[in-house]
Subunit: 134 residues, 2 copies
Amino acid sequence: MRYLPGYALRRAATAMSAEIAERFATVGLRMSEASILMLIAANAGISAAQIGRALGIKRANMTPLIAGLEAQGWISREARDGRSMGLALTKTGIHKAAEASRISDEHEANLLSRVPAAHRDHLLPALQALSATE
Amino acid sequence: MRYLPGYALRRAATAMSAEIAERFATVGLRMSEASILMLIAANAGISAAQIGRALGIKRANMTPLIAGLEAQGWISREARDGRSMGLALTKTGIHKAAEASRISDEHEANLLSRVPAAHRDHLLPALQALSATE
DNA sequence: TATTGTTATACTCTATAACTATA
DNA sequence: TATAGTTATAGAGTATAACAATA
């Protein structure tokens, strides 16, 4: 069973997700929260719906996520127009997003270091071919 | 964000898992059920605890899975010793496992076909390096 | 003591449906 | 009509704790 690419893909993703989730947890973040903070850091004023589309999170599931980040004092919301809110990081949110970025970078570097050099440069393009929307 | 291997890994695994889940659903199977049926097909007499270890499913979560497969009439249980049960496929279970195998094979072939030829042979060893227990 | 199977429970992620307000 | 945000809800997957019976 281990020789099946699809199976190996799920196992590797599970293992790597568990690893970065554990790293994010050390600073009190879940993976979704860390991803959202980093996305807002790079795109101030982005809306919840736009984040959902970028990260593949349904609108209905964004609501409690955004509310939680706001309750922690990490993001602020300001009306863009009558129906959408622009999101931005607060001062502590900027710090939190920086922690998330540092952890993400460490994780990505660690991940790549575990792939034998002969295969390393092939991993990303292969994975991108699989998640390409047809 | 798309250029991060860890992120691409999660996205690819999510996309491929959704695809095979949809394929399995056409024959009334969930991914976990299909995996268990295929594992029993290749290892008659295996126990629930052994399956759990092989597939990364906790013992406590195996119980309702096995009960469901038995309720469908796909597997039978026979005492191996006083505390463990050997699992085997019934006649309809053999048919169901064969359907699962066919779907799995089709999915794996389709998956590989989507990876550019230059990267194809590198995917499996790269993924295996990531899920290797250290 | 360790393992098997079990029950109960809970958390996360994901999904759909329905609603209001606005573009 | 389509979009944004919200609420309620449900199904999976996964996790721990505890227990009885057995190895």
